[in-house]
């Protein structure tokens, strides 16, 4: 049997293992085994590739692989769970970079060694490089926003969408023109440059609260870029993995958009939260409570539902929250957690944080599973969440978040809201939950407040 066939069979086996791995992620009990399958698949694909006769020198290859693997391991072992969205954005950037560079390397090889690329090959390589470059620069901006290296509010120019449209058209033209004029193949470098600018310009106008969707879209782009590489290199396993990754990004992005009752395009091109032109209505003053008062209310509760939000991640309060929950549970209170799909900055963000703090996953409930139970709940404890519990989404057709499915924390008998300050929430929208009768606002850093609450509950 010739080596080429062995390589292709190895790629086929790898593709199957990846699908089995993703199937394992359907339940927490099987997920870790799934990852082992994926690792096996990757090992097979790499081993198969080493058999390919094109590969004649190993020095640079091994140096790059060891450097990348060492850095990847180090980062992944050390990064705190609260920074997971940045970690994901960062790896999308690297995925895009790798793909774009592979395309440029292939182009330079064909220019140097011939035969020159023909139209279809140039289009595939151009698409690969363009998608890779957009993913790279867009993900770097997302990384900067998530890590607060850049302001997380939307930064939009007037006519931003027109500019982006023109940039996209220019990149596309630079990909398509060489199809008819293969001698103009250097256009691929121009396409890469335009795509880098486009990536920045696409993500800058998107606000922090919309990051869950952006991360998913960048995930899909990274997948499509990998698939385009597969087309350019005629490599099946790249096409399969690209398709799987792209499908995952799109599905997650759609779930996130739905959880905000908005369309993909509205999130991506709406510069949401840039301005809230409506005059603030005269709201009644909120009831600000002391830690002691809140602790008394919590101690008396028989049922508690915790609603975590991005503020929990910002103040790294997941362990303090778990302490409080344990103290309350010891007193006979039933504690559960209600996780909104867009709570936090990426899909599943809150679940990972709570899992890190040893909250068993059977105490975590999603929107549909728990919303009906708020009415029979003594206390809803809102920790650093805002829009996902804003009743305006149900009642105020003029509100920018109208129609978004929200957690019905306002249906609970008492609502305790932990909040950094009286300033309005992320999207700058007033929240009637905070000012309604029956809501107690406890101001301050969530971690400190939760610690003080736990101490007071234990002492009482």
């Amino acid at each position: 049997m010739n080596a080429e066939l062995v390589v292709r069979l190895a790629y086929l086996a790898a593709s199957v293992l990846f699908v089995i791995a993703l199937r394992g992620l359907a339940a927490p009990q099987t997920a870790r085994r799934g990852v082992v399958y994926a690792e096996l698949g990757m090992a097979l694909a790499v081993a198969g590739t080493l058999l390919r006769r094109e590969i004649v020198s190993y020095g640079f290859l091994l140096a790059g692989a060891f450097a990348g693997a060492a850095a990847g391991t180090l980062i992944s072992l050390r990064i705190p769970m609260t920074r997971m969205p940045e970690r994901i954005a960062f790896s999308h950037a690297f995925g895009g970079l790798a793909v774009a560079l592979v395309g440029l390397a292939e182009h330079s090889h064909r220019v140097r060694d011939g035969p020159p690329m023909n139209g279809v090959e140039l289009a595939a390589a151009g698409l690969e490089v363009t998608l890779g470059a957009v993913t790279f620069s867009g993900s770097l901006v997302a990384f900067g926003k998530l890590g607060e290296l850049l302001p997380s509010r939307p930064i939009a120019l007037r006519g931003q969408n027109v500019v982006n449209g023109l940039l996209a058209a220019a990149a596309l033209a630079l990909v398509v023109v060489p199809v008819a004029h293969p001698e103009a193949s250097a256009a691929i470098y121009a396409a890469a440059a335009v795509a880098l600018v486009l990536g920045v310009s696409l993500v800058l106008p998107i606000g922090g609260a919309d990051m869950p969707v952006v991360i998913c879209v960048l995930n899909a782009y990274a997948g499509l870029a990998a698939a385009a590489t597969g087309f350019a290199l005629r490599n099946d396993v790249l096409i399969v993995c690209g398709a799987l990754d792209g499908a995952s990004g799109l599905l997650l992005g759609r779930a996130m958009s739905r959880a905000m009752n908005r369309s993909f395009s509205n999130v991506l091109f709406g510069a949401f939260g840039a301005v809230d032109a409506r005059a603030p209505e005269a709201a009644p003053p909120p009831t600000v409570a002391s830690v002691e008062d809140a602790a008394v209310v919590l101690s008396a509760a028989r049922t508690l539902v915790v609603v975590p939000g991005y503020g929990l991640a910002v103040s790294q309060a997941q362990h303090a929250l778990r302490d409080l929950a344990t103290a309350l549970a010891a007193g006979g209170c039933t504690v559960r957690y209600a996780v909104h799909p867009v709570a936090g900055r990426m899909p599943g963000h809150m679940n990972v944080l709570l899992a890190e703090a040893n909250v068993p996953y059977d105490e975590l409930f999603d929107l549909d599973a728990i919303n009906a139970d708020f009415a029979s709940t003594d206390v809803a404890l809102v920790v650093g969440a805002n829009d996902v519990v804003n009743p305006a989404a149900r009642t105020d057709p003029a509100s920018p978040i109208y129609g978004m499915p929200i957690l019905a924390a306002d249906a609970a008998r008492t609502c305790i809201v932990l909040k950094r300050s009286l300033a309005p929430g992320f999207a700058g929208i007033d929240n009637a939950l905070f000012t309604r009768p029956g809501t107690l606002l406890v101001l301050g850093d969530a971690k400190k407040t939760l610690g003080a609450l736990a101490a007071a509950v234990k002492a009482g």
Binding site: M42, G72, M84, R112, G230, G242, A243, L252, E363
Partner: protein, 101 residues
């Protein structure tokens, strides 16, 4: 040209079928595991490593080798780092002790 178009259609076939499989399989992942899912697909899409390896190791001139080597480093970072962090997250997901199945 026919040969190329054939390759294109062949690739499209694989891509389309794989996308359908992806939608079916990923649609079953609960929101609980969406972050590990993203980390895992990230690692899997690091498969561009196989393309990078050829670019870096095929003696195709200094430009291709340099670009390929950076690509290998970036892709291996995603593959290895992605698997490590996925497993690190999944290890944390525990059931309540004594809870019934």
């Amino acid at each position: 040209m026919t040969d190329l178009l054939e390759a294109l259609v062949y690739g499209l076939t694989i891509f389309t079928l794989a996308a359908f499989v992806g939608v079916e399989v990923i649609g079953r992942v609960p929101s609980l595991l969406h972050t590990p899912l993203m980390a895992a697909t990230n690692a899997i899409s690091g498969i561009s490593l196989v393309g990078s390896m050829v670019a870096a190791g095929a003696n195709r001139g200094p430009v291709a080798t340099a670009l390929g080597t950076i690509a290998v480093a970036a892709a291996s970072l995603n593959v290895v780092g992605g698997f490590v962090i996925t497993d690190r997250m999944l290890r944390m997901f525990k059931k309540r002790p004594g809870a019934k199945r």
